[in-house]
Structure formats: structure tokens, C-alpha cells
């Protein structure tokens, strides 16, 4: 196990390096100047512009800039935002609480809903509940999040006027704070619930026909005990790994939902940064997302081994 973890870590590090090189390369090769806002400003004389380029290190060759960026990033220095002239790490950290609460709540809701739905649908295969759950799942992952968001706004903000359509971080009253978070959470949760429920159903179906389930029934166990203690425990192994794999996807996917409801999360920051050519911010956020993906992939692999002793690491 220890050697396996070490080997996986050895593979993980180069993956991250390659990804950072790719993103850095794209940004460096892109046509257009990240400092165009200075270039188009007539108040900035040419020598000052050159000085700024020099200060940011933009007059150096790309590989040199990459090495410098990487070294600084590892030390925790993520550079300064061109747009707001504040440290990038501060900008990102400022957004983390909002992101974690909205995305985290959505993911929790999805897990709490999806597992019972998936289990019941599988146990009662081809029943009306199963058909309903399957339809719900198909609708859930065929509805693009931006359309679900717009629909919810149309129904609950425009038509009924119950919920605010814009997320406001200045809100202090707990009731209001919950109210404004309902729709973004619902949009994110719907999509996740659909795919997780579908996956849980398939996994339970794989296990329900196992010999050990027949044995459990044969020795006279009550049906709830068979399902909860025997079937569910085995069925959840792949589901738990999928949950770990999906978490970073939820974070990156939240970009769209944040845009609809104006939630000031990391995704919204990324969109603004891309639109203002704020290279250091774009680079840092993309790379943080990449780290999330890689780490959770690793976590999923390790979890699989911990939860399923049948898997031998070689």
C-alpha cells in the first residue's frame, strides 16, 4: 500500500507540471498583450510601459518566465492581479467561503437524495418508482445548468417573486442568506443528483444478484438488513469513488451557475479575469482547479483500495 501511494505520488507530480506548462504555454502564446490596458492608455509614456513590462518580467523568454512563476507558486507567491493590483492568493481566498458553502451544500444535498433514490430504484427494478427515477435522472443530466437556472428564476423570482435572483454577499440576516442560496444550490444539486442516482442504481443492481445476497436471505435475515448491511455496503464502493472524482467537476461546473445568479465565487472571478486578460489570476485559478482534479483522482484511487480489501496494490 505504502509503495503504491508513493508510486502514485511520483506520477502525480509530473502530471501537474505538464498541466501547468500547457496552461502557461497557452497564455504565453496567445495573441494579444496582457498589458494592453496600459498600452492603450495615452497617459502612460512608452518608457514607463517598458518599465512595467520589465517589472512584471514580461520581457524575458517564456521558459524563464515559466520557471520563475513555478518557483514562486510553490513558495505560495501567486503573483499580483493586473486588474486589481492585489495579491492573487488573497483574491482567491476571499472567494473560497462562498464557493465552499454553495457548492458544498449542493453536493451534500445531491448525495443525500441520490443514494436513497438509486437504492430504491434498483431494489424495486422496473417498478413505477424506478421508471420515475430513471426519467428524473435523464431529465436531470440532459437539462443544461444554465437553462435550469433561467427556468428557476422565471418561476420563483419572476412569476412568484419568492426568491431573489441575484446572490448578495452583503446580506446578514440568516433567513435571507438561506433564501438566496436555494436556487443556485438546487441547480447544482439537480445535475449531480441525477448522475449519482443513476450510478448508485447500476451499482446496486450489480450486487443484488450476488451469491452472498442469496446467502444472507437464506439464513433468514430481514430484507432491510440484507439491503442495508450487505448490498449497500458493497454497492457504495464505486459510488464513493465517483463522489471523490466528481467533486472538482462540480467546482469547475459551478462557473456557469455562479454566472447566472451572480454568486461571487471562484468561477465568477475566473470569468472576469479572462475577460480583462488578467493573466496571473487566470493562471492561478486554472492551476488550482487542476490541482483539485489531480488530488481527488488520487484520493478516489486510494479510497477504492481502503474500502475494497479485494483490491491488491502491486
Amino acid at each position: 500500500m505504502t509503495t503504491y501511494v508513493l508510486r502514485r505520488l511520483v506520477v502525480t507530480a509530473p502530471t501537474l507540471v505538464v498541466i501547468s506548462m500547457v496552461v502557461f504555454g497557452i497564455l504565453a502564446l496567445a495573441p494579444g498583450d496582457p498589458l494592453s490596458q496600459f498600452a492603450s492608455n495615452p497617459d502612460v509614456p512608452a518608457e514607463v510601459r517598458l518599465q512595467i513590462r520589465h517589472d512584471f518580467g514580461l520581457d524575458q523568454p517564456v521558459p524563464v518566465r515559466y520557471v520563475k512563476w513555478a518557483a514562486a507558486f510553490v513558495r505560495g507567491d501567486w503573483g499580483y492581479s493586473f486588474a486589481s493590483r492585489t495579491p492573487v492568493s488573497g483574491l482567491i481566498l476571499q472567494r473560497v467561503p462562498t464557493d465552499l458553502s454553495v457548492v458544498g451544500a449542493a453536493y451534500l444535498v445531491a448525495i443525500v437524495l441520490a443514494i436513497p433514490i438509486g437504492v430504491v430504484a434498483a431494489i424495486k427494478q422496473y417498478s413505477w418508482f424506478d421508471h420515475l427515477a430513471t426519467t428524473f435522472a435523464f431529465v436531470g443530466f440532459s437539462l443544461p445548468t444554465f437553462f435550469t437556472g433561467v427556468l428557476l428564476i422565471l418561476i420563483f423570482s419572476v412569476h412568484f417573486g419568492w426568491l431573489p435572483s441575484i446572490y448578495n454577499t452583503q446580506v446578514r440576516a440568516p433567513g435571507e442568506a438561506v433564501k438566496q442560496a436555494i436556487m443556485p444550490i438546487a441547480v447544482l444539486a439537480l445535475f449531480q443528483t441525477a448522475s449519482l442516482a443513476r450510478y448508485t442504481r447500476a451499482s446496486v443492481l450489480d450486487n443484488v444478484r450476488g451469491d452472498y445476497v442469496r446467502t444472507a436471505r437464506a439464513k433468514g435475515l430481514a430484507e432491510p438488513a440484507v439491503v442495508l448491511r450487505h448490498v449497500l455496503r458493497n454497492s457504495l464502493i464505486p459510488v464513493v469513488t465517483l463522489m471523490a472524482l466528481q467533486l472538482p467537476v462540480v467546482f469547475t461546473g459551478a462557473v456557469v451557475t455562479e454566472q447566472i445568479f451572480r454568486v461571487p465565487g471562484i468561477g465568477a472571478l475566473l470569468i472576469t479575469a479572462i475577460q480583462t486578460s488578467d493573466t496571473p489570476v487566470v493562471m492561478a485559478i486554472t492551476f488550482v482547479f487542476a490541482i483539485l482534479v489531480v488530488c481527488f483522482n488520487l484520493l478516489a484511487d486510494l479510497l477504492y483500495g481502503v474500502l475494497d480489501p479485494r483490491i491488491k496494490y502491486t
Partner: protein, 316 residues
């Protein structure tokens, strides 16, 4: 004389052929697949719905002669009525006409991106699975890297950075189309590559492939003639589902304002434009959104049906 012999020949062979048919129903691999697919009612309905959508977007503009760029401020944001079945947008443009045009583009992006993803995935998976060793290690590491890349941020980034340069060189519509299709396809080949590689690993050492190798079939012939036909099923399913996800990807980018320019209506772009008029003209958002939903839902059902139909372990 020639005519006579032919009638004679058919006269003789016809009863023989029908006899064979009644004795043993003629079955083929793809016939079975089709039968199993049609038995999956929702999948069949999905296929019909998607074909209807494609036909509507192809033929609709020929029948429904409203021009998409006609600006008419007097009729701006008018609700669905006989003159404008889907209503009009903030500029008084007809939404049905724009939705039909937009459908062409959205579906074309979906199909083209799918083709790129499937081609790349099959190519990479075949090479890795067939040659193994160094090629396999290298290509699978590459696949791992691509899987770890956060998709949406990279899509946004590439499109934002390269849109202007590319459109300057080859024109607005074509430039963005190529960019979108290339980037969406180029970031979606990984699952296909893994499936194809797994299929190659299990098929490569089967007797019929070894036999082909022994009589001196070159690598390309072994791959295309003997192995690929046996690993094509999961690729078909993955390809079908890839159309849906590509349509969603294109709409997402357009919805964030990073897709086609405003004068090219796509479903996502129309939703983007509708955002500011939700209170006064909800139909601007509902119709394009429903079309995206319908297209993706029908594709997902088709994919599900194909997965069952192509699974040889399920009996008819």
C-alpha cells in the same frame, strides 16, 4: 433471348430463396442490433425526436420564410402569436426562425466535435492498445494529463484568447466554428481512447488476430480489418453521448458570451441574449432552452438504447 433467360433464372431461384427464408429467418449482427434498439421504446422515440429536430432545422428555413436578421422595433418582445409562433426578441426578430437557424449550428457543432473526439480517441486508443510498450505508456500518460485538465476553464481560456486572431484570418463564422469544434473535440477524446485501448488489449491476442498476423497481415490491416470491428460498440455509444455533451458545451460557451457573435444565432447565444429580458419576454429564453434540452435528452436516450442493443450479453 437474354430477357427470357433472366426470367427463367428468377423463376427458378425465387421459390428456393423464399423456402430458405421461411425455414430459417435471415439474421445479421446489425439486424439484431436494430431490433433490440427498436424494442427500447424510449430510445426509438429519442431517435425519432432527434431526426425530427435535424430535419426541422434543415428544412424549416426553406418552408418558414422569415428572415432572421429582420429588425422590427414595433414588434419587439411580442409574445408568441400567429405571426410569430415563438414570439420575438428585444430587436423584434422572429424567435422561431432564429431557433431553426441556431439549431443547424448547434447540431453541426455537436456532430463535428463528436467526429473529432471519436477519431482522435480511436486513433490514440488503437495505437496504444496495438503496439503496447513505449507507445502505450506514453499515450496513456498523455490521456491521464488530458483527463486532469479542468475542461471548462481551459475551453473558456482558449476561445477567449484565440477567437480574435482566428476570426481575422478566416472570417467570423468559420473561424469560431473551427475553434469551437476543435477545442470541444480536442478535450473529449479521452474516454474513447481508454475504451478502444481496453478493447484492443482483450482482442489483440485472440486466435483470429493471431491467425491474421501469421499469414502476414500488416499492422494497419490487422487493426482496421480484424480488431476495430470488434471494439466498435462502445465507441458508437460514446460517440452518441459525445454529440449531446458537445451541444451542451457549445451552448455553455455561447451562454457565457464566448461563442458565436450576436448575429449568428445559436441556442446558447439566444439564451444569453434572453437573460436581461426574463421579466418581460420569458419566451426568449424558454424556446431555445427547451430545444437544447430536447436535443440532449433524445441523444441521451438513443445512447442508452444503443448501449443495451450493442451489448452481446443481453439476449433478444
Amino acid at each position: 433471348m437474354a430477357v427470357r433467360t433472366r426470367t427463367l433464372a428468377t423463376a427458378v431461384s425465387a421459390p428456393v430463396r423464399t423456402g430458405a427464408l421461411t425455414a430459417q429467418r435471415h439474421r445479421t449482427l446489425w439486424g439484431d442490433v436494430r431490433q433490440r434498439f427498436l424494442r427500447h421504446r424510449l430510445a426509438a422515440a429519442g431517435a425519432v425526436a432527434f431526426l425530427l429536430l435535424v430535419l426541422a432545422t434543415l428544412l424549416g428555413p426553406l418552408v418558414y420564410h422569415v428572415r432572421i436578421q429582420d429588425v422590427d422595433f414595433a414588434a419587439a418582445t411580442s409574445p408568441p402569436a400567429l405571426a410569430h409562433p415563438f414570439g420575438t426578441d428585444d430587436l423584434g426578430q422572429d424567435i422561431l426562425a432564429r431557433a431553426l437557424w441556431g439549431g443547424r449550428i448547434s447540431i453541426a457543432v455537436g456532430l463535428a466535435a463528436m467526429l473529432i473526439a471519436i477519431t482522435l480517441g480511436t486513433l490514440i486508443g488503437s495505437i496504444a492498445g496495438f503496439f503496447g510498450h513505449m507507445a502505450d505508456t506514453l499515450l496513456m500518460r498523455l490521456t491521464d494529463v488530458f483527463i486532469s485538465i479542468p475542461q471548462l476553464p481551459l475551453l473558456l481560456l482558449i476561445i477567449y484568447l484565440f477567437r480574435d486572431a482566428l476570426t481575422k484570418r478566416i472570417g467570423t463564422g468559420a473561424g469560431i466554428f473551427l475553434l469551437l469544434v476543435g477545442v470541444i473535440g480536442g478535450l473529449n477524446w479521452m474516454s474513447t481512447a481508454r475504451l478502444v485501448r481496453a478493447g484492443f488489449l482483450s482482442t489483440r491476442e485472440k486466435e483470429f488476430v493471431v491467425a491474421a498476423r501469421c499469414i502476414g497481415a500488416p499492422a494497419v490491416r490487422q487493426i482496421t480489418r480484424h480488431i476495430l470491428p470488434n471494439v466498435v460498440s462502445p465507441v458508437i455509444v460514446a460517440g452518441t453521448l459525445a454529440i449531446g455533451s458537445a451541444i451542451i458545451a457549445e451552448s455553455t460557451l455561447s451562454f457565457l458570451g464566448l461563442g458565436f457573435p450576436p448575429d449568428v444565432p445559436t441556442w446558447g447565444r439566444m439564451l444569453f441574449d434572453a437573460q436581461n429580458y426574463l421579466t418581460i419576454a420569458p419566451w426568449m429564453a424558454i424556446f431555445p432552452g427547451l430545444l437544447i434540452f430536447l436535443a440532449v435528452l433524445s441523444i441521451n436516450y438513443v445512447g442508452d438504447g444503443l448501449r443495451d442493443a450493442l451489448d452481446p450479453q443481453l439476449v433478444v
